[in-house]
């Protein structure tokens, strides 16, 4: 049973507030969101305390900063959107937190640090900061640290620019915590976190003649444990696993994952709906999950010819593909995520619905992220879309689904059953009701 613990939304809705990425950090204490206006908002979980027993781990705003600004490419006379495509946290190495955020062209490393203490009792300057006259100092004192209002500041520490001709769709931090990869439509680059003026190109699928281009890279991710392994997915529904030890340019994959097409369901839209919009390794590193338009598939890394599990997200849309092609919804890129134990997966759908699948029990549930259902501590009710002719009470018919309300970005706390769901410009946070 899921209950809503927080709902964050901008007071007035404009395009810039549309959330474009959501990501928990390694401990789950922090939750970062990026939006279309280039801003990053970080939420921090309240410590449960005896003073406020009902707060129960609410997430409140911790820091807000402008990560990317709109740019103009003078060479091509085109604007470069400031929309944040992805945020990935770096493992915490000291008191500060670091994350990578990227738009279409530039990746930035931000350090977020907080100060909640200040020193008082300096010898050489007084409280206003003015220098004290040295002749007046008659005794020495040790400055003391006093609490102050918490101040959080974010500063850009590295800017990784000019390495991508095409639009960046993924970034992924490597398990060595020193390197990370970035992928655009045709290339994957490997960076060192300390070096901004150079990157290694490890995958290049750009054909010599652009007329022959029929496939693009849609997502890429590093293996969670093996720092030499990464995968990238394509618009043709294939996933390639590459080993960086094999060659400098990983154009030839070590493994090639593709499910053979079902000839009976072939249509002109088959290729489009097979295009993979997201790929995620399981925390264990044994499986990976891919999201295409209508389904989520779980693959065993040791079996390339078909997935081990397939979950239908919204099969009732299969008969509507032409309309969805016309209004461009068929190109929506849904993400997917694992829970901490790899026992459940979650992905979004339309009408502000999102779906969760339990891999063990094979049960699935559809929930809705909406204001009416999401007052704090309100329990979410399971939703159902009626596919047949008869519509039962409380069911929603396919034709009354709102295709403008799409949930593309979801995130699952790495340890607990807390999920974050982005519905256009609203961020919903739900958790499992324990008692």
């Amino acid at each position: 049973m899921a209950e809503c613990i927080s709902l964050m939304s901008a007071s007035s809705f404009n395009q810039a507030d549309i959330i474009s990425t959501v990501e928990f950090n390694y401990s789950g204490e922090l939750l970062a969101t990026g939006d279309k206006g280039g801003r990053v908002v970080i939420f921090q979980r309240e410590q449960e305390s005896k003073n406020r027993p009902h707060s129960r781990g609410e997430y409140n705003v911790y820091s807000t900063f402008q990560s990317h600004e709109p740019e103009f490419d003078y060479l091509k006379s085109l604007e470069i959107e400031e929309k944040i495509n992805k945020i990935r946290w770096l493992p915490q190495q000291n008191a500060a937190h670091s994350l990578l955020s990227t738009n279409d062209k530039t990746i930035k490393l931000w350090k977020i640090s907080q100060r909640d203490k200040r020193a008082e009792g300096y010898n050489l300057k007084d409280e206003d900061g003015r220098l004290r006259d040295p002749f007046r100092i008659t005794s020495l004192r040790v400055p003391v640290l006093l609490p102050m209002d918490r101040m959080v500041e974010a500063s850009p520490r590295r800017i990784f620019a000019n390495a991508h001709t095409y639009h960046i769709n993924s970034i992924s931090v490597n398990s060595d915590h020193e390197t990370y990869l970035s992928a655009d439509d045709l290339r994957v680059n490997l960076w060192h976190l300390e070096i901004t003026d150079r990157s290694f190109n490890i995958v290049d699928i750009k054909p010599a003649n652009m007329e022959e281009l029929t496939e693009v890279i849609t997502a890429a991710e590093c293996h969670p444990h093996q720092c030499n392994v990464f995968v990238y997915s394509s618009s043709k529904g294939t996933i390639r696993l590459c080993d960086m030890r094999a060659a400098a340019l990983c154009d030839r994959q070590s493994k090639f994952f593709e499910e053979p097409e079902d000839p009976s369901s072939r249509s002109f839209f088959s290729e489009i709906i097979s295009s993979i919009s997201d790929v995620k390794f399981s925390h264990s590193g044994r499986y990976m999950m891919t999201r295409d338009y209508l389904s989520v598939k779980v693959w065993d890394l040791n079996m390339e010819n078909r997935p081990v599990e397939t979950y239908q997200v919204h099969e009732y849309l299969r008969s509507k593909l032409c309309s969805l092609y016309e209004n461009d919804c068929i190109f929506d890129k849904f993400e997917c995520c694992w829970n901490g134990a790899d026992s459940a997966i979650m992905t979004g759908s339309y009408n502000n619905f999102f779906r969760m699948f339990d891999r063990n029990t094979r049960r699935d549930i559809t929930l809705e992220a909406s204001r009416e259902n999401s007052k704090p501590r309100a329990i979410l009710k399971a939703r159902k879309v009626s596919t047949g002719g008869k519509r039962k009470k409380d069911e929603i018919s396919v034709d009354s689904l709102d295709f403008n309300k799409k949930i593309l970005h979801t995130a699952w706390h790495p340890k607990e059953n807390v999920i974050a769901v982005a519905a256009t410009n609203n961020l919903y946070i739900f958790q499992d009701k324990i008692n």
Partner: protein
């Protein structure tokens, strides 16, 4: 350097597209019409209807796809993944149409229609584009891969220049209500495209001249209307993809005029030459040519009215220069 073009709203009637719940299967409604049936019985009528419905649907999908490719938001770079997927869909339709013979019939009809259009003044500009396309289509039975020209600089530009196609041509189609199918390929003759050319940047003069001499005079005006959307043509898509590369070529002079003055001695325009007096044996200068093209007699070269008005202007200017 904004890419802009005339846009006609393309209203693909929803009701005609895909009835609710219909699964578009590749093998759907591919029944062959009954050959040599004396009377048109119910089953063959139904087969024809289903086949034409499928062809109509396929045609609609093709038109829609090409519109999508053109209507890129040129403020920001278009989404390459989306473009590639749409292009692959178009290619798929094209391949299927090639396999069932629709493609060849369509291109043949188009070449005939183009021939008629050649001599029509107000279609001059548009058909020049079409002619290039038909040539390309006729040359290949197998559809070429669609070029999805990316957002890069030089390499893509090279590709465009190789093709020698006007990369700035913007085309729109309007789907008039499809007429009743007279053949088993209703999609062919149902649409009435409307071409509006943006700029004829890299016109190929030789090509136009060649086709002018070959095909002018054949065909009828009526066929012009029945031209099917050339959207399936690879050239169209290449030009469409060319929009990814923003190009703004200098406007070229009227090709007919260029031809006219190709052998003219430029020194004749030189004021010095003029002021030192007429030469004893005047060469065939621009003024002579202009005279021969005067509005008294029929123009031997071009029927373009716009061409003629330019010539009159030049006539006037030449009079001033030569001083007669």
């Amino acid at each position: 350097m904004r890419y802009s073009y005339q846009r006609r709203t393309c209203a693909i009637p929803r009701a005609k597209m895909f009835p609710k719940g219909t699964k578009r299967k590749f093998s759907d409604s591919r029944e062959e019409p009954v050959a040599g049936g004396e009377d048109v019985n119910q089953s063959s009528l139904a087969a024809v209807r289903m086949l034409s419905s499928y062809s109509l649907q396929r045609q609609s999908l093709l038109d829609m796809s090409l519109i999508k490719l053109q209507l890129c938001h040129m403020l920001v770079e278009p989404n390459l993944c989306r473009s590639v997927l749409i292009a692959n869909t178009v290619r798929q339709i094209q391949e299927e149409m090639t396999q069932d013979g629709t493609w060849q019939i369509m291109t043949q009809a188009l070449s005939a229609a183009n021939a008629a259009a050649q001599c029509s003044a107000d279609r001059l500009v548009a058909t020049e584009v079409l002619c290039r396309q038909t040539e390309a289509a006729q040359g290949e039975q197998v559809p070429k891969p669609f070029p999805v020209v990316g957002s890069e600089g030089c390499p893509a530009k090279e590709v465009l220049e190789e093709e020698a196609a006007a990369a700035e041509v913007g085309m729109t189609m309007s789907t008039v209500s499809p007429q009743a199918p007279t053949s088993y390929l209703p999609g062919t003759f149902g649409m009435d495209p409307c071409w509006e050319e943006e700029e004829t940047g890299e016109d190929d003069d030789d090509e136009e001249e060649e086709e002018d001499s070959e095909e002018c005079g054949s065909g009828s005006e009526g066929e012009e209307r029945e031209r099917d959307s050339l959207v399936e043509d690879t050239r169209t898509a290449e030009q469409v993809f060319g929009t990814f590369e923003i190009k703004n070529p200098a406007p070229s002079p009227d090709p007919a005029l260029e031809e006219l003055f190709s052998d003219v001695d430029a020194s004749y325009y030189d004021l010095d030459t003029v002021l030192t007096g007429m030469q004893s044996v005047p060469k065939m200068g621009p003024y002579d040519l202009l005279e021969s093209l005067s509005s008294h007699g029929p123009s031997p070269l071009s029927s373009s009215t716009s061409c003629r008005s330019d010539l009159n202007e030049l006539d006037h200017i030449m009079e001033i220069i030569v001083g007669s």
